[in-house]
């Protein structure tokens, strides 16, 4: 029984449960990063090393795109509360 597949499998399992259970968006993104850590560990434990390099390079890009979308969502909600009375186009 090797150590790396065991730890990576537990990371994948807890990350998948955590994405479902947590409600705050930043907590969901943290749990998604934990799931990606488990995925890369399982790829390395099967000796697909070149695919592991490409996955490691693509992981932060995915996380940064999700975070940019979250920031734009938050700023849009704040602007809606700020100009909601003056501009009837933005209010429902």
């Amino acid at each position: 029984m090797e150590i790396l597949p065991l730890v990576s499998g537990i990371c994948c399992l807890l990350g998948g449960i955590g994405v479902i259970l947590h409600t705050n968006p930043i907590n969901k993104i943290i749990m998604f990063a934990l799931l990606e850590i488990g995925m890369i560990g399982l790829i390395v434990s099967s000796y697909y090393l070149d695919i592991a390099i490409i996955s490691s390079l693509c992981e932060p890009i995915c996380t940064i795109i999700l975070l940019l979308g979250y920031l734009k969502y938050v700023t849009t909600i704040k602007k809606k509360k700020k100009y909601g009375r003056n501009l009837p186009v933005l209010s429902k």
Binding site: I26, L34, V44, P60, V74
Partner: protein, 81 residues
């Protein structure tokens, strides 16, 4: 089964459970960074070749960058609110 792998694996399991259970978001990021360091060491110990070292180096840099991006976003949301 090496004794070094057993110790690092135990630390990684502890960090995984603590990420799942703590409520503070800053502490969650700290434990996520520690877990990525542990997995990087396990990769370098599991694959006994120079290619394993290259994978460990690239994984170390990219996972640290991802954690820092999440921390910067938490600071920006506090600044907006």
């Amino acid at each position: 089964m090496d004794i070094v792998e057993i110790i690092i694996g135990f630390i990684a399991l502890l960090m995984t459970v603590r990420i799942f259970l703590t409520r503070s978001r800053a502490r969650k990021l700290l434990y996520l960074c520690c877990l990525s360091f542990c997995i990087s060491a396990l990769i370098a110990l599991y694959v006994d070749s120079p290619m394993g070292g290259i994978v460990a180096i690239i994984y170390f840099i990219c996972s640290t960058l991802s954690s820092n991006a999440i921390a910067y976003t938490i600071e920006q949301t506090k600044h907006i609110e």
